[in-house]
Each structure stands twice: as structure tokens, then as C-alpha cells.
């Protein structure tokens, strides 16, 4: 047992760190540090930089451009991305539909889609949730009726992140209306430019536009875009939801936030003294650091255990703990940053349209409240914390 990184792992970390430091455009880094939204171009530009280095789809098999890194290297890579801070490769392609196509797609699908995912030539989004099927995905109603060489899709998806940027959407659709719940669902790839696809933006409480509804009205999809077998989509979806284990706790994100909080708390003056020198503030921060360090080790324990689990399709149920604790800590950093900013958090300014607000404050002050609002989603999406607790109770505790 040695909980430190090996010299090889440290060398690897340093290599990743140096590369990111040199290659990450300053404008992107600044936006991330200040909590501003990235543009579509920012995300694409950065992923292509990674792709040129051969690191955009590090988690994939070498055959399709992957790196062959083990779980610990994957972890180190993602933590360095988070701490930079840099955007990670677009998850919907790299961590979701990509692995599904690799595992279950046809050769033609692989050749057609995978290189374009790696280079972010195609922007993918996820069509799982529906208004009446959130945590209870199996209740989905969107249908795909076979009609010759095509499927005709009707229905509605919601909470679709970045649908406004997307070229493609991977959907769960009901292909056998008679079958119950999980059965009769298929996994279909749909071109967003198809006739009958309409995207409606959903404004979130931070004032941003990340999520959307997608409406499908007699959308015709070539049958070739079915992944795997008809009516087996539920299995692929489960595979997908379990496939991203590398840093579900997002420890690097929280580390970066804590570093940022310290930097700002050293700048903010309270009655002539930096907030960072205040005993009570320091204890609050130290308390968060303790929790984060514990989470980091817990995450590393799960990563290390991955080696013994390799090949198993189901996620380690311990991932649920990482999801819960990770979300709580990220949310706590957002709350603490809001406290650091204080009354200066009140003015609202969005994107470039910040009106008179900039006369009042600075951008980093104005993003504190929106980030706090926005990050409430972390304990909701991808299976709410309540759902995660149900999973732990059942799978680990046997209750």
C-alpha cells in the first residue's frame, strides 16, 4: 500500500500539466476562472488542441484514437484539466455516445462518427429525459415507428444541454409501444438538421442558456442510425450512464474553486483586513478542505479499484457516493465564493450584455450568484442525490 503517486505517475502529471499550461488559450482559461460561459467556438477550439495531442478521447480504445491510459492516468489527466481550469472534452460525444458506438455500434457507425466526435466536428447532445420521464427514465414516451428503411420519430425531449449547438442527438425512443417500461426502447442517432426537429431554449435561473427542449414531429431517421439491436436501448443507456467513472466527484474542479476563493478572499477587505485573515473564514475554508481531501482519497480508492473491475459493465456503486459528496462540495465552494463576494454579488449581468452593471462591479463578482444558482443542478442531474442514495441503500447496504 502506497497512497502516493509513483514517480512515473508524477512525471505523467507534470507532462499533462505543462502541456495544458502551454496550450490552453488564455481567454478560455480566464472565462473559466471567472465563471463566465464559454462559447461553442471555445469548446471546439480546445478539444481540437487536445485532439492534435492525441488526448481528446483518452478513454477510448487505442484503435479509435484512445491513449491506452490506465484508470489512474485517466484520473490524473482529468484532474489536471479541471484544475487548469480548462473545459473537458465534450462529454456527450467523448464519454457518452462514443463509448456506446464503440461497444455496440456497427462498423459503419464507428467509421462515420468516431473521428468526428474526437475532433468535435460533430457536436452531440443527449436525448434521454422527457417531461414525464426524469429520474424515472423508463417512463419515456417518444416513439419511433419503423416505416421501410426509416424510423418516424415523434415526441419531446427536455433538459437537453447545448442542443442549440448540436449537430446530432442520441435518443432513447420507444420502438415497441406494447412492451413494458424498460423493454421496447431503442437507441437512435438523429441528425439535428432533420426536418421536424425543433429546439426551444429553456432559460435557467442563473439567466443562462444551457438547456433546451427538443420537439420531434414526424422526423424521419434512417434505420442505419439505430445503434445495436432494436428494443435493447435500455441496456445501452445503462452502459452509457455507467461508463464515465473517471472523475465523477470532480475533485479538480473543487480544488480550483478553493484556490480561487483563497485568491479572492486575500483581495477582499473587511474593515481594512483581508477576509482571508479572518479566523472564522479560515476555519470554514479549512473545513471544506478536509472534506475535499477525504473525497479525493475516496475517489482514488475507487479509481484504484477500477483495475480489479475492468471489463465489468456495471458501475461501482461507490460512484454514487462520489456523486453525492462531490456535488455537495462543489455547491459548498459556490456558496463560499458567494459569501466572499458579499453585496457585490447583487448586480446581474449576462454575457456581453452587462449594461450598467460593470459600472458597479467586476465580472468575477457578478458571476458568483449565477454560479451558485446554476450549480444547484449538480445534485439534480445524472440521477439526483436522492436517487443515488436509493442506489447505495440497495446495492451496498442491502436495504
Amino acid at each position: 500500500m502506497d497512497l502516493r503517486f509513483t514517480p512515473e505517475e508524477i512525471a505523467f502529471r507534470d507532462e499533462v500539466r505543462s502541456f495544458i499550461r502551454a496550450a490552453l488559450p488564455a481567454s478560455i482559461r480566464h472565462k473559466m476562472v471567472e465563471g463566465r460561459d464559454l462559447s461553442r467556438d471555445d469548446v471546439v477550439a480546445w478539444q481540437r488542441i487536445l485532439n492534435r495531442r492525441g488526448w481528446s478521447v483518452a478513454n477510448w480504445p487505442k484503435e479509435w484514437g484512445g491513449t491506452g491510459w490506465g484508470p489512474i492516468q485517466q484520473y490524473i489527466f482529468m484532474e489536471e484539466i479541471q484544475m487548469a481550469p480548462a473545459p473537458r472534452p465534450l462529454a456527450y460525444g467523448v464519454f457518452m455516445v462514443g463509448p456506446v458506438i464503440i461497444a455496440f455500434g456497427s462498423e459503419a457507425q464507428k467509421r462515420r462518427f468516431l473521428p468526428r466526435i474526437a475532433n468535435l466536428d460533430d457536436w452531440w447532445c443527449q436525448g434521454f429525459s422527457e417531461p414525464a420521464a426524469g429520474s424515472d427514465l423508463a417512463a419515456l414516451k417518444t416513439t419511433a415507428r419503423r416505416d421501410g428503411g426509416e424510423y418516424v420519430v415523434n415526441g419531446q425531449k427536455t433538459w437537453t444541454t447545448y442542443a442549440q449547438y448540436a449537430d446530432w442527438v442520441f435518443c432513447l425512443v420507444r420502438t415497441d409501444p406494447a412492451a413494458k417500461k424498460q423493454r421496447g426502447i431503442s437507441f437512435l442517432l438523429i441528425d439535428m438538421k432533420s426536418k421536424g426537429v425543433v429546439v426551444r431554449p429553456i432559460e435557467t435561473i442563473d439567466g443562462g442558456h444551457e438547456i433546451n427542449e427538443i420537439f420531434f414531429d414526424d422526423v424521419r431517421v434512417p434505420a442505419d442510425n439505430l445503434v445495436g439491436e432494436e428494443n435493447k436501448g435500455w441496456d445501452y443507456a445503462k452502459f452509457l450512464l455507467g461508463s464515465e467513472r473517471t472523475n465523477i466527484a470532480r475533485v479538480g474542479v473543487s480544488k480550483e474553486r478553493i484556490r480561487r476563493i483563497k485568491e479572492l478572499a486575500a483581495r477582499v477587505q473587511v474593515r481594512g483586513r483581508p477576509l482571508l485573515d479572518d479566523d472564522i473564514f479560515r476555519r470554514k475554508l479549512a473545513s471544506l478542505e478536509v472534506e475535499l481531501k477525504a473525497l479525493e482519497i475516496t475517489q482514488l480508492r475507487v479509481v484504484a479499484a477500477e483495475r480489479n473491475r475492468a471489463g465489468r459493465g456495471t458501475p461501482d456503486p461507490a460512484s454514487s457516493i462520489l456523486k453525492i459528496k462531490g456535488s455537495e462540495i462543489q455547491q459548498a465552494t459556490a456558496e463560499l465564493l458567494l459569501q466572499v463576494v458579499g453585496p457585490q454579488a447583487m448586480p446581474y449581468g449576462l454575457g456581453d450584455d452587462i449594461g450598467g452593471a460593470l459600472a458597479f462591479g467586476e465580472l468575477w463578482e457578478m458571476t458568483a450568484a449565477p454560479t451558485y444558482y446554476n450549480w444547484r443542478k449538480i445534485s439534480i442531474y445524472g440521477g439526483s442525490n436522492e436517487i443515488q442514495k436509493n442506489i447505495v441503500a440497495r446495492s451496498i447496504l442491502g436495504l
Binding site: S129, A132, D136, I202, G342, P343, M346
Partner: protein, 383 residues
């Protein structure tokens, strides 16, 4: 000891609740928010008609001599409705300064116009460097002839871009955080040298940065003694704290009710999600937090009339601590229990959450007030 409203108070409560039910649906509020000033002149006139704008002022000034209980009733209703109008700035803050500091001529000139709904005001006191320190005043007022010249910048002036008149705190003597040497000046919002940059705030209301460049104020524009403004402000901030505690309780109560309704209607896995015990208990925890907050809003309402400034300040800090904590807990949990829909601007829950977050910050967040309370020796001192 008696928690019952009087007959008159119940009538006020009924009428304001009815008004807000009619005129402040979620859809109407969205409309008002998009109006040029960010609030509704039409609704403001309704407030005037109902006498709400007259409530705390003395009868001899044209008011109704209402007690803090009436203020609490109105603010709680406004909290439920997420009202956008400058009631807090005009009636509670500026109005409070007029009540506690203004001379007869000033009161006579201004209060009837406020009561009639013809004039709105804002308090221009906060400065960027002040954070939560209430005695931080760097804007200067220098004597010039028999008047004053104001110079400097004020921030977060609530609805400062749409009001008619400002009350500006400015230093007539001493250093930035001295207890003495601050005066309060009535300034026309459109006066020479006043420039205002309005912007929305995170909760959908509006505020402004006000720059004062050699703005002239006459002796008649000084409210109270030109060196004793902070003691008036201290009193007014205590009243304002009690008022926003009530507003926050209104918002929390409405948000809690909305959440419980959602639990009763939303289905998952074929059953109402309100049948899940973990969510039931969460709703109970929120309810307890709400009731604790309500109790502290009542406590603040009771104590705000105390003539013992230290005791009053401790009570307001204690109330603000509870309100901030309850608001945060109820806000966050309401979003969590709603799931995705709670994260959207199309649904009311998120607006409550945002407002509650800002109400914690306004007049000092719960951490700040806990520090004040602890430094002052705690709450239970004389029992």
C-alpha cells in the same frame, strides 16, 4: 402575550392579499419586470389607493400611524408575491429616515406626495468598499456658502434608476468610518451632477450606481443634524431588517407551499413523489425551518420598537441570522425537490430562491450578523 391580529390589521392583511392575488400572478409579474422601470406604476397607484404607502407615517404627516405589525403584514404579502415596486426603498428606508430625522417642513413637502403615490425615493448610502459596514461613508459633503457640495459614488441604490428623489449619506466631517460626521441630504434624482447607471439585480429587481459630481444641496435639504446621520440610519436599518425578515418569510412560506403541492402532484415510478418518506421528511425539515424563521420575524417586529439600541440591534442580528439560514435551506431544498423544473426561469420556484438569496445578502448576511451578535455578547443577556 398575544399573537392575534387586531380587526384593523386583519382587514389590511385581507386587502393586500387580495390585491396581490389579482394583480400579481406569476405571468403579470414577468410583464412588470419587463417594463422600463422594472416595476409597475399601475400597481404602485393601487398601493396608494389601499393606503399601504401611508401605513408607517404619522397621522399628522398624512399617514396612518401604523405599527411594525402592519409593516410586517404588508412585507410578508409582498414576499409571497415577489413584488417589484420600490416600497422597501421608498417607504421603509427613505420613509424611515424622514420619520426619524426630517423636520416639519421636509415632512410636509414630501410625505403627502409619497402617500399619494406621486413620489418615490431611494436611500443612497452603500459604497462599494463598505461591504456590510454601515458606518462606512466616503462620499463627502463640503460646505459651500450656506449649502453643501456632494462628491463621490454610491452603489446598490435600490431602484435608484427610476426613483424621483435620493437621500444621500455624506461625510461632513471626520474619517471614513467615524461614528460622527455623517449627514443625510435630500437630492433630486435629476439634479445637476447626479448620474445614475441602472442595472438589474440577481433577483429580477433593479439597482443603480449613483455618481455625485459637485452636486449642490441647500441647508433645507439636510435631514436632521448634519453630523448625526448615522444614528438615524442605525434606527432605520433596524426597521428595515425587521421588514425584510417579514418579506423573506412570505417568500419562504409561498415557496414551501409550492413545493409541497409539487410533491403531491408529480409522479415518478408510478406514484406521487410525495409518497417517498425521505422527501416527506425533507418537506417537514423545510417547514420547521420556515416556522423558526416566522418566529424570528415576529421577534424582530416586536423588538424593533425597543428604545434600547443595543438590545434592538442584537434582536435584529439574531433574526437576520435565522432568516438567512432558513431562506437558504428552504430555497435550496425547494429547487432540489422540484428537480429540473426548479432550475428554470419559467417556473416560480427559482425566482423565490433567487430573491431569498439576495435577501440574505441585503443588510448583511447571516454570517455577518452572527459575528455581530457574538461580538455583542449573545442574545440571552438579561434572563
Amino acid at each position: 402575550m398575544d399573537f392575534d391580529l387586531t380587526e384593523d390589521q386583519r382587514m389590511i392583511q385581507d386587502s393586500v392579499e387580495r390585491l396581490m392575488a389579482d394583480r400579481y400572478t406569476f405571468e403579470l409579474r414577468q410583464k412588470y419586470r419587463r417594463e422600463a422601470e422594472g416595476w409597475s406604476r399601475a400597481v404602485w397607484r393601487k398601493y396608494a389607493e389601499l393606503g399601504l404607502l401611508a401605513l408607517p407615517f404619522d397621522q399628522q404627516d398624512g399617514g396612518l400611524s401604523g405599527t411594525p405589525v402592519e409593516t410586517m403584514i404588508v412585507m410578508e404579502s409582498f414576499g409571497r408575491a415577489l413584488a417589484l415596486e420600490p416600497f422597501f426603498g421608498t417607504i421603509i428606508l427613505a420613509g424611515g429616515i424622514l420619520r426619524h430625522g426630517a423636520g416639519a417642513a421636509q415632512r410636509e413637502a414630501i410625505i403627502p406626495r409619497i402617500v399619494a403615490g406621486e413620489m418615490t425615493l431611494a436611500l443612497a448610502h452603500h459604497e462599494r468598499e463598505a461591504r456590510y459596514a454601515r458606518d462606512h461613508v466616503a462620499v463627502t459633503a463640503k460646505r459651500s456658502g450656506d449649502g453643501w457640495i456632494l462628491q463621490g459614488r454610491k452603489d446598490l441604490v435600490l431602484q435608484g434608476d427610476s426613483v424621483d428623489r435620493l437621500i444621500v449619506s455624506a461625510r461632513t466631517a471626520g474619517a471614513t468610518q467615524d461614528a460622527d460626521g455623517v449627514g443625510l441630504f435630500l437630492v433630486d434624482a435629476r439634479a445637476q451632477g447626479v448620474s445614475r447607471h441602472g442595472y438589474p439585480t440577481q433577483d429580477g429587481l433593479r439597482a443603480a450606481t449613483v455618481t455625485l459630481d459637485s452636486v449642490h444641496a441647500s441647508t433645507a435639504d439636510v435631514v436632521g443634524h448634519p453630523a448625526q446621520g448615522l444614528s438615524i440610519l442605525a434606527r432605520v436599518f433596524d426597521e428595515a431588517t425587521a421588514a425584510i425578515c417579514a418579506e423573506a418569510v412570505g417568500a419562504m412560506a409561498a415557496l414551501h407551499a409550492l413545493t409541497v403541492d409539487y410533491l403531491k402532484q408529480r409522479e415518478q415510478f408510478g406514484v406521487k413523489i410525495g409518497s417517498f418518506q425521505a422527501l416527506q421528511h425533507r418537506a417537514v425539515d423545510m417547514f420547521m425551518s420556515l416556522e423558526q424563521a416566522r418566529s424570528m420575524a415576529l421577534f424582530a417586529t416586536m423588538m424593533v420598537s425597543s428604545s434600547n439600541a443595543a438590545e434592538r440591534g442584537r434582536a435584529m442580528s439574531a433574526a437576520k441570522v435565522q432568516i438567512g439560514r432558513s431562506g437558504r435551506y428552504i430555497g435550496e431544498q425547494a429547487i432540489q425537490l422540484h428537480g429540473g423544473i426548479g432550475m428554470t426561469m419559467e417556473y416560480k420556484a427559482g425566482h423565490y430562491f433567487k430573491r431569498l438569496t439576495m435577501l440574505d445578502i441585503l443588510l448583511g448576511d447571516s454570517e455577518h450578523h452572527l459575528g455581530e451578535l457574538a461580538a455583542g455578547g449573545g442574545l440571552f443577556q438579561d434572563e
